[in-house]
């Protein structure tokens, strides 16, 4: 297939898919599986296109670019969206299959925002894309509208999210005031001049982005929304918007900045430390696996921020690698949660008792995902953590690496607690857990990713380093 060079191809494709899914929902019978299948097929096709696309195109006078970073992010968004849709294909209880068209239209809308965000090289476009990404997420969080906690979570998420958007916009206005233009290409020069308003503006934006990527202390919305929403959606929510947030961070704070980026090291390091410590410690007492994964996710954001704090091509590359590792590990874990949740109607850890004796493969999968998240060798998570520490040590920040390494032990504690429920405790109920084919497939893909990249990470590392290198040219 010839390389696609039209810069907006993926966005237009997603938009077309969105309309198609909407129409199929409007004119199809209620509860039909068609919209979901359509969305999945379309996403796979778009992923294929994205995989074969070449970087280098740009549009609107350089304010919309498809460079290496944008393309990497777009592939990540599409892959995670496709996985998430695949996992929810199998029907099951809840409003998602009943109102499939609405669900998938919203999801595609949010995806469209992310795709645009990855390419944005202009402040207004960046903000609009951010909003397009965020607003459907609020709705999707409250998709189980008859459940009180879903409404509560959605409201909380919405309030926190809009405030953060306002903060970002406020910050951007300062940046505009100092730089005199909304084009991000002019940003490094403005920062170089050292106008205090630029730093004030970028500082506010970082706080706003902190909400989006759920770094402590901007994390409060995470556990509630994870608990309330359906697991396949949460799997996506836990990965894609955070990746989008990191892309925005890289664009604003690193791209073309050179040494001036070092001014943000203390801020990034502090956010990283606080997120790692708080996330890991707060995960310990959780008895609901979704909340546990939510807090562990906050801790993972801390590790990624550690790579950001290195402010180097290696560090940035390792954050990208970490995102891929996190995609497979975390989404896989949530898919297993979905499988168990459907069968046991519970997300409590008690539901996992003796899982190894009931469904050995399901238990093994979850164990592998959790060990990968915990950073154990031969799983991709190990390399992710290792590379992040590596990047940090390269910058001479030994203490940060030490702290990070020690906190992985804390993380392994609560992951092993889950392992204890699955492997050591005796089962309460008998019988294997029925898993729909599509969900099995989704879990298998994640498993392949985790183990495959864990055994042979080489090409991926080369890839992310190439992507990160373009930011520091």
């Amino acid at each position: 297939m010839a390389a696609l060079s039209a810069p907006l191809a993926l966005e237009l494709g997603t938009l077309a898919l969105l309309v198609l899914v909407l129409l199929s929902g409007l004119f199809g019978p209620k509860g039909s599986a068609l919209p979901a299948r359509l969305a999945f097929g379309g996403l796979v096709a778009l992923l294929f296109v994205a995989w074969n696309a070449q970087p280098g195109a740009s549009a609107f006078g350089g304010t919309f670019v498809v460079d290496e970073l944008a393309l990497f992010a777009k592939r990540l968004f599409l892959a995670s969206a496709a996985l998430s849709v695949l996992a929810s294909l199998g029907g099951g209880p809840g409003p998602v299959p009943r109102r499939a068209a609405e669900y998938h239209v919203l999801l595609l809308g949010s995806l469209l925002g992310m795709l645009a965000l990855a390419s944005a090289r202009e402040l207004i476009l960046l903000f609009v894309a951010f909003e397009l990404m965020s607003i459907p997420l609020y709705v999707l969080t409250g998709f189980r509208k008859r459940e009180d906690r879903a409404s509560e979570a959605a409201l909380k998420f919405f309030l926190v999210g809009t405030v953060s958007s306002a903060v970002i916009l406020y910050g951007l206005s300062f940046v505009y005031g100092a730089a005199g233009t909304t084009e991000m290409a002019a940003l490094p020069a403005a920062v170089d001049e050292g106008h205090p308003l630029v730093y004030l503006g970028l500082g506010l934006v970082l706080a706003g982005l902190g909400f989006k990527i759920a770094a402590v202390p901007f994390h409060m919305w995470v556990p509630d929304s994870y608990e309330a929403a359906s697991a396949p959606f949460v799997a996506w929510l836990s990965v894609a918007p955070k990746a989008a947030g990191f892309v925005a961070v890289f664009r604003l704070y690193l791209e073309g900045m050179g040494v001036t980026a070092l001014a943000w090291v203390p801020v990034a390091a502090t956010l990283a430390v606080v997120s790692m410590v708080a996330g890991n410690l707060m995960a310990i007492p959780q008895s609901n696996i979704k909340r546990l994964l939510a807090y562990s996710g906050i801790a993972h954001i801390g590790y990624m921020l550690l790579g950001f704090a290195a402010m180097s091509a290696n560090g940035t590359g390792m954050v990208l690698f970490y995102l891929v590792a996190y995609l497979f590990g975390n989404m896989g874990a949530f898919f297993v949660v979905e499988a168990v949740g459907r069968s046991e109607s519970s997300d409590q850890l008690d539901a996992y008792k003796g899982l190894a004796q009931r469904s050995p493969m399901l238990a093994l999968s979850l164990l592998v995902f959790l060990l990968s998240l915990g950073g154990i060798p031969f799983m991709v998570g190990f390399w992710a953590k290792l590379y992040v520490f590596w990047a940090v040590i390269e910058q001479g920040m030994y203490a940060l690496a030490f702290l990070g390494a020690l906190l992985t032990v804390v993380a392994l504690y609560y992951y092993l607690v889950v392992a204890r429920y699955m492997y050591i405790d005796a089962p309460v109920r008998a019988g294997a857990i029925a898993v729909p084919v599509s969900l099995t497939l989704a879990i298998a893909i994640c498993l392949t990713g985790v183990v495959g990249m864990g055994v042979y990470p080489g090409p991926w590392v080369d890839g992310v380093l190439r992507v990160a290198g373009t930011l520091f040219r």
């Binding site: 060798p377 290792l386 520490f389 390269e394 030994y398 690496a401 392994l412 092993l416 492997y423 080369d462």
Partner: protein, 512 residues
Amino acid sequence: MTDFPILSVITWAPFVSALVIMFGARHRPGFVRWTAAAGSSVSLVLSLWLYWAYDRAAAGFQFVERVELVPALGIAYELAVDGISLLMILLTAIIIFAGVFASWTVKTRAQEFYALLLLLVTGVFGVFVSLDLFVFFLFYEIAVLPMYLLIGIWGSSGAVRPQGIFGWAFGRTGVGTKEYAAMKLTLYLLFGSAFILVGILALYVAAGSQSFSFLTFERTTFSPALQTWVFLAFYIGFGILAGIWPLHTWSPDGHASAPTAVSMLHAGVLMKLGAYGVVRLGMGLLPEATIDWAWLVGTIACINIVYGALSAMAQTDLKYVVAYSSVSHMGVVMLGAATLTESGLNGSVFQMFAHGVMTGLFFALVGLVYEKAHSREIFKMGGFATMMPGIAAAFTIGGLSSLGLPATAGFVAEFLTFLGAWTSAHSWWLFPAVLGAFLTSIYVLRVVRHIFWGPPSADPRFQNLPDAQGPEWVAIGILVFVIVLFGVIPGIAIDPVDTATVPLLTRLGVFP
């Protein structure tokens, strides 16, 4: 035979049999056990051959295998053995072979048990043969993690529950249960591995070389400041596994709760892995820091010896006695290394071997006694020698080796270490060491007398107990044989070890 990848075969044979067991032996316990025995005997036979074939005159690293894994980062699958690792490989092979036979009676979920056990052993072999520090670390993690499930599923909860003020505080944590012990052990060891990982990465970055090979690091001179803290990181990281005071508390809990074969392997081999790490990475790569910190290592080792022995005296649970004796004996290992003398370091390595075999034997026997009498309480049992003469005799031989009686392996090790301590810069180390040996004789003889040779217990549970049977004799026989053999002809172990310790000490500047 130069092209035959003997080290890889030794390392991966248990892994292959684990795979066979996992995927080919569902609900066939007999097949499971024989596959495990076959895998471990391949390793044993080859490691005996390796021991014989190692060229003592040439010394240095031999049987080198090298395959590039990640050339961009300088990670390679590089295996080799020198005199120290040679002995450790033999030890591992002996213990796992005996361990498979000692746990012949594991019935519940036997398939998973043997698969995890053999996976663990692959990790241990891998650590001893790896020259590439990165691969070393990978194997190290494999050696640590399966322990959690092995103890958690097949372990036994002790009868000891927390009492008094601290009991109230610790009651909720589940002290004494196998789940608690498994989690504690795993977290301690992972905590240690975090230190090790950061240390290795720091050395790699500081060396600026594109290689993780031990040989490359060995040629690099690191700055004193870096050496100081990396040595401490390695000392803490590996020291946790070696059971150094005050980071040893996972060891009694873990070993007492673990199933027999796991206790054997953990106390017998894995703790040595910690000491081996300190000697190989700490002393081998960081010579200046080693000399600076020798006082700390040696002094803490002395505390280990005496504290471990005193704690062992206070126990009423047989398995805890053996577990604390390991803490005490690991002190001897670390002390020998800290003396920085030839005899001390040789004694240290010899003690790793001797204690490995000895404690393996102890845990095997304790497991047998427990299986037959369903009790680990020393003061309730008595007069077992008439019912189980074989076990009693073997336990007595192990006990005599433990307290350092001549003609047993324990004597050679302790003698060399004490000699090293006396000729070292801190000759006062000799006194706690000798005190430890004295205390050891008290608690060992007390246990032996009470359980085996004392007056018979009136308890009806302890009547007409059988002696060891069938496969169990294999385990006991091998271990007793090795203890006596290496006690009578210590030269067969000391000769190869000496070829590795002398260059190490030369690098440290002890020898001109």
